[in-house]
């Protein structure tokens, strides 16, 4: 068989929910094109029921992921970087198509994204020392503050930066022990859906990251009002949508991270991690030690 007669095999992109790759419950898909308008592939057009299922999966995964040691989470995040390195060519191609970049510029984006995973992998067991610690008190007590993950976080991935932007908002959420429901960029969801395949093969437990593609406003609205979602990152929402979602999110006092101009190529700092951390402070009484080594 000669090369000329071979039909290429097109890839069916699917959602990533609870560690599995389902099609949208609605059965809908939409056409994804490159920056010049050429058809690339069909992506699932998620419905609110897919969003609901994703939250259920994320909630289920929260106990195990938030309870894993920070060291272990760091290893898992580093593993993601390892796996990405192996599929670098694929992501360069997808990013170049999605954003209309030259191959070298797309490669720079992918490299920066891989390095970002490593950066956050290093932070998992260090963030507690930076934002927590022992507090001085005037009494016979220890007083300790420690950062705790917020819970299930909905992440609206940035629309303009399909891969580096996505990694820059997703990695800080899961690094600290939250679980995430990601809404991929509406026009260019393919790098996000491919990232799901990497996550599935890199020790990230199913449900820790769930990826939905489709119309951002349609999926985000029920998620912003969802009573079992603890926080929402509005990075991918325009001004009007962000306002609407913030109002919906107020009902159960979700934490909201408003959209802000970000240079995704710069070193990110810890703000995106602390945005989805809560500080737990415990008072522990101390006293004179008895013969058994304890006063109690």
């Amino acid at each position: 068989m000669s090369d000329a007669t071979r039909l290429s095999v097109f890839k069916t992109y699917k959602l990533y929910v609870g560690g599995k790759f389902p099609r949208s419950e609605s059965g809908r898909v939409y056409e994804v094109t490159d920056s010049k308008g050429n058809w690339l592939a069909n992506a699932p057009l998620s419905s609110r029921k897919d969003a609901r299922d994703a939250v259920v999966a994320a909630r289920k995964a929260f106990g195990g992921w938030s309870g894993a040691t920070a060291y272990n989470r760091g290893q898992v995040l580093y593993r993601v970087a390892e796996m990405l390195e192996g599929r670098r060519e694929q992501f360069v191609r997808e990013v170049a198509d999605a954003e209309g970049l030259s191959k070298s510029k797309a490669a720079a984006q992918v490299d920066a994204a891989i390095d970002r995973w490593v950066w956050y992998a290093g932070w998992t067991d260090k963030i507690a020392q930076v934002v927590g610690g022992g507090n001085p008190v005037a009494g016979p007590y220890f007083n300790l503050s420690s950062p705790e993950p917020t819970g299930v976080v909905v992440v609206l991935a940035p629309q303009e930066s399909s891969f580096l932007g996505l990694v820059s908002v997703l990695a800080p959420v899961i690094a600290t022990g939250n679980t995430a429901v990601v809404i991929a960029g509406e026009k260019s969801p393919l790098p996000a859906l491919s990232l799901a395949e990497v996550l599935a093969t890199s020790d990230v437990p199913g449900g820790v990251v769930n990826v939905l593609s489709g119309r951002t406003a349609e999926i985000a609205t029920p998620l912003a009002a969802h009573q079992d979602v603890n926080a929402i990152d509005l990075a991918g929402a325009d001004e009007e949508l962000a306002k609407e979602l913030e109002i919906a999110a107020a009902d159960n006092l979700k934490r909201v991270l408003r959209p802000q101009p970000v240079d995704y190529s710069a070193t990110p700092g810890i703000d995106r991690m602390t945005a989805f951390l809560e500080t737990k402070t415990v008072w522990h009484p101390t006293g004179s030690l008895g013969a058994s080594g304890s006063a109690y």
Partner: protein, 319 residues
Amino acid sequence: MPTNAPTAAILSDVTSSDSTLRRFLHGLPGVDAVGLEARAASLGTRSIKTTAKAYAIDLAISMVDLTTLEGADTPGKVRALGAKAVLPDPTDRTTPTTAAVCVYPDMVAVAKEAVAGSGVKVASVATAFPAGRAALEVKLADVRDAVAAGADEIDMVIDRGAFLAGKYLKVYDEIVAVKEACGTSARLKVIFETGELSTYDNIRRASWLGMLAGADFIKTSTGKVAVNATPANTLLMLEAVRDFRAQTGVQVGVKPAGGIRTSKDAIKFLVLVNETAGPDWLDNHWFRFGASSLLNDLLMQRQKLATGRYSGPDYVTVD
């Protein structure tokens, strides 16, 4: 429903001896297992939405036998369960009460006090639940104990060992004796533990045996074994109560128990009831769900329909 007198007379004859009873039970038509499962699965695909869904959810809540059958049950837990049965969703007082709370006999008095004045009934498992491996005298004492403590309903288990060994009359006599011990104050639910009966034919036989012996309800399982209520075995039992009423004029209730955890599942069972036994059974006097976690899911779905927002487990009680 007119009584078919000749048939009723025949049915009274069949329990006269072990051999006539066996001949009758083994003379029941065999179950088409593939057809049964396909029928149950196809009825499960019905789409129930909006107002019909709201009706189904409220109906399902009113049919729940809120159950706690753990060795670790405390009076406090039973009281909490009773409070939940009376007022399932404290944030929405239009929510119906559940049908009953279901507890072990020694907790009946506590449960009775917790639901007093609400119309919620107290059901008690008895007869050496869940294995049923005890002497008849012990089982009857268990029943009398629960009835004396004020149980409105008794959930008994049949002797599966005797049933599987073919000693149908022994099983029959036991149910009759328990029914007598229940007196007029308590309704009797007979648990077959369908997961241990191996075949659909056996479930059909057990259903008829239970109904002949005077069961007010036939119930699938204890919730203590691997296979509990399934759409197929519940469909089979619904067919049995339908046929029994057609032949004798006596209506018997059905209670699937164990493994029903979501509103979606519960609504599938309601479709089975409506399409098989008919709307006469769509009432908590004739159909029940034996469940504990199901109620929370029903409440979350109810909140979703009322507010338009998806609810979460933080908004229902943990029990």
